[in-house]
Amino acid sequence: MLNGTTAEIKPREALRINPAKTCQPIGAMYAALGINGCMPHSHGSQGCCSYHRSHLTRHFKEPVVATTSSFTEGASVFGGLANMTQALSNIFTIYNPKIVAVHTTCLSEVIGDDIPMMIKKAKEEKIIPDGKYVIHANTPSFVGSHVTGFASMVTGMVKYLAEASGKSEAQLKAEPQLNVIPGYIDPADMRELKRIIKEMGVKTVMFPDTSGVLDLPQDGQYRMFPSGGATIEEIKSSGDSVGTIALGHFASHPAAIELDEKCKVPSALLELPYGLTNTDKFIHALRTHGGVDVPGSIGQERGRLLDAMSDMHQYFHGKRVAIVGDPDHVIALTQFLVELDMKPAYVFTGSSGKHFEQRLTEILGNHAPDAMIKQNVDLFELHQQIKNNPVDLIIGNTYSKYISRVENIPFVRFGFPVLDRMGHRYFPAVGYMGALRLMEKINDALLDHKDRECAEENFELIQ
């Protein structure tokens, strides 16, 4: 397995091998599914839409519906207006969504299709029925990654929908509402954020929200547009909120800043609430800006997490870890690993962005000064680095499992996508309870490995 990978690292400028990222449109499609009654629409060749739907379906094991403009060569030469018009007519007639969220692809971007013009024309021609919405985001695959695609669609929600109603500050503060922009996380995580928010007693609007869309119960019925998702009215009202809590520099902060520019809503730009201190910051922000006290139940969750950390930290302390994934995930998770006294050794993302390296240098500065922090890098290089200087644990998406098997290194699946295990579909990784689950997974991976590999005389009943 992977026997073409050697420890010798030859310079590469052009060849990407085993990427740790994918393209923008899939992120835009995922974000769009977090709007209630929304049909994501891929403006380009139908292969893009097919690949994205397949990939998201494998990660969630849920129906993922989306439409496509189904370009052929003709559309590629003459432009995609006719395809877009016909698509919108079919979508509203047949599927009748409340809103269509268009994202572009390489194809429509290279030929320069003007989506706002197309939407305007379709509105004038009544192809978009009254009371229905069409929004868009530009997401060519030759820019950014699936993470920026997600961010662009969330920003698109703000651009098209958010509005300040002109109520006075006193009116808004009378019944204050906070926005939460949760980032590129799973439906189970969004569900957990809402539970915490409810427990705290804060009135919020969360968008996107894929819980209730991509984690549906089995009740013998299929609903193309289930009850979940942020409603258009909720997203509109985000312009009237007293503040925004945006989780993740790459996936969520751009939309929060857009909302500030558009509706003058200030924001707390936080990291994803993985682990103890990032969850503390989230709770603290909710408490302060929502004007509530932290209930005892939340305090107890925190206490139970901390208790587990004190009980078990000997198994985490000093362990060398390779972490690879999406930048917001990696930044917040690395923070948690530091809290667990682990030693991040390779901290990699396939996406690009200087913030990644700057922020991780801050986090790891004193704790793990030798850690290798890299953006715009791939799994092939991670494997080569591990061959040169091994680690005790790999944390990454499912594609990392090949490295784990070849090098016999314990592995924890984390992030996007997870294609071969079920937990992420039901159990959160955010908040104090999510942190406990992450800890359990790491601990199990390390101790299972020890139990399997250690000499018989060291095989112990109790740990």
Binding site: S50, G74, I94, G220
Partner: protein, 567 residues
């Protein structure tokens, strides 16, 4: 259309009404187009079906793109051919390990299926051209892996910005001294994956087949074309043929090496499994090298036996014929009891199949083996000949989309055209009812008035389930959970839901058991909670003495009444 309210009551017995019900909601233009792709079957005289035509924009379709057909399907499984996707990161990423083409390369060979290599094109290459980056990527790949050959697969932007992958391939071939070949399989090139199959066939034929004239030493030597070793199917077929004494030089493309493809023109016979994806290579090999091809099908026990007999008849050897009969008898001995047991449970149950370019036909044989009925079927990306049979080939109109795909002009090779049969032998076989290069398509084997639906849409699938209530559906990943949310089990026939193999006799047994599992699992019966079934059925509160508990006389100690599972 929408204003003409259709008040017909749809019954299972009236497929014309089902069709009308499916089309009812569509805007007029869409209804007209889709109407041509939904056909009431007549096996004696298959009606014309709209196929291999453009997907209607805005319709939720199963279809993918040309790149997926070329890179994902045909080229992907050649395990030691290093393949570089030229384009932005996504296309290569999605084609990475997502089809289940299992491979067992010999010790020491690098299996490139585990690697996703691409040029990760960025905006400046879109503006200034990506050829330099591609050439550099090839150099780097060669420096790291030292492969025997390299293929370049193009994605949408490549064609639009005018990168010449073929020129880069020629340049790098000269520079590196290995075979480097380009494929212009941009996603927009055709109406589905099908165009990509054709482009891949052309490229393999031009660049690989015929590079090594030394045949494998074998008395009966053939290729299996259009078999992708999903879940190990090709291994089942190979093992079965070996048992009979037949050697397979190459399986295109399943667990196959570059070197095997190079010499696959040295065989006596080509057997075509998936007609849609590979008939082009079969045709071209016949023209250039004189190798006859026949349609084979190893999906289903009866189909497998029929195919083995057909192959034996071709080779015309008593030894082989006897051996084939012996093997069939042995295999059927093991298979029959399983089949009968499962048939007894599921005879008459209904299946529907919407997948691929051959599987929606082949898998009908497996369901028929266990007495199940096919209520509707259709392909995702096939052409009219796959439905109506190759006899309609001369009448298929070549439209603008098909014209984009190069038709190679192939002539008999002056030295290497060596048919394994003389024209007289071929004539004699044909006189005896043997069909060469023939595929009769799906429709002749399906019942009269069964609905045949090409490129089924999401809406049509929903209607079909609502009206026909099939017991099981064979489809793909994008539909699977839509169908299962409705309480109908769905078998993915691209990936087999990570099980299999299903080919040949051993595979058939796996499939029967798999269908049995899906039709008997308790899970669908738990959907209605007990309080909705019978609000009075809660376990009552009762007083229990210690003596009663010890003697286990209380009702709750006795086996409980059915609580949903038996439902």
């Amino acid at each position: 259309m929408s204003e003409e309210t259709n008040t017909t009551t749809v019954t299972e017995l009236d497929p014309a009404a089902v069709k009308a019900e499916m089309l009812k909601i569509y805007p007029a233009k869409t209804a007209k187009k889709r109407g041509k792709q939904i056909i009431l079957n007549d096996p004696d005289n298959p009606p014309e079906i709209g196929a291999n035509t453009r997907t209607v924009p805005g319709i939720i379709t199963q279809r993918g793109c040309t790149y997926a057909g070329c890179r994902g399907v045909v080229m992907g499984p050649i395990y030691d051919l290093l393949q570089i996707t030229h384009g932005p990161v996504g296309c290569g990423y999605y084609a990475w390990q997502t089809r289940r083409n299992l491979v067992r390369p010999p010790e020491g060979t690098t299996n490139y299926l585990q690697y996703c290599m691409n040029t990760d094109m960025q905006e400046d290459q879109i503006v200034f051209g990506g050829e330099k980056k591609l050439a550099q990527a090839i150099r780097e790949a060669y420096a790291i892996f030292k492969p025997k050959a390299i293929a370049i697969l193009s994605t949408c932007p490549v064609g639009l910005i005018g990168d010449d992958v073929h020129a880069v391939a020629r340049q790098m071939k000269e520079e590196l001294g290995i075979n480097v070949m380009g494929f212009s399989c941009e996603g927009y090139k055709g109406v589905s994956q099908s165009a990509g199959h054709h482009i891949a066939n052309n490229g393999v034929f031009k660049n690989i087949i015929g590079l090594d004239d030394k045949p494998d030493e074998a008395e009966f030597n053939m290729n299996i074309l259009g078999e992708y070793n999903i879940g190990g199917d090709a291994w089942e077929i190979d093992t079965l043929l070996r048992k009979c004494g037949i050697h397979v030089t190459a399986t295109l493309s399943g667990d196959v090496s570059y070197d095997q493809v190079k010499k696959c023109h040295t065989v006596q016979l080509n057997g075509v499994m998936c007609h849609r994806s590979i008939n082009y290579i079969a045709e071209m090999m016949e023209k250039k090298f004189g190798i006859p091809w026949i349609k084979v099908n190893f999906i289903g026990a009866e189909a497998t036996a029929k195919t083995l007999r057909k192959i034996a008849k071709f080779f015309d050897s008593k030894k082989l014929t006897d051996r084939v009969e012996e093997v069939i008898a042995q295999e059927m001995l093991a298979l029959r009891p399983v089949r009968e047991e499962i048939k007894a449970k599921h005879k008459g149950k209904k299946a529907a199949l919407f997948v691929g370019g051959s599987r929606a036909h082949h898998y009908q044989d497996l369901f028929r083996d266990i007495g199940m009925e096919i209520v509707s079927a259709g392909y995702e990306f096939a052409h009219r000949d796959d439905y109506e049979g190759r006899k309609v080939l001369p009448t298929i109109k070549v439209d603008a989309d098909s014209r984009n795909i190069e038709e190679l002009h192939v002539e008999a090779d002056p030295e290497r055209f060596k048919p394994s049969k003389t024209p007289e032998q071929i004539a004699a076989l044909e006189a005896g009812g043997f069909n060469f290069k023939d595929y009769e398509g799906m429709m002749v084997e399906m019942k009269k008035l069964t609905l045949v639906i090409d490129d089924i849409s999401h809406h049509e699938m929903e209607k079909l389930i609502e009206i026909y209530k099939p017991d099981i559906i064979g489809s793909g990943i994008k539909d699977k959970f839509v169908i299962e949310k409705m309480g109908v089990p769905c078998k993915q026939l691209h990936s087999y839901d990570y099980s299999g193999p299903y080919a040949a006799f051993g595979g058939a047994i796996n499939f029967y058991r798999e269908v049995d599992r899906m039709l008997t699992t308790k899970v669908w019966k738990f959907i209605t909670p007990p309080w909705e079934k019978d609000p009075q059925s809660a376990t009552p509160l009762t007083h229990t003495t210690k003596t009663e508990a010890k003697n286990e006389t209380k009702a709750w100690r006795k086996p409980a009444a059915a609580d949903g599972a038996e439902g």
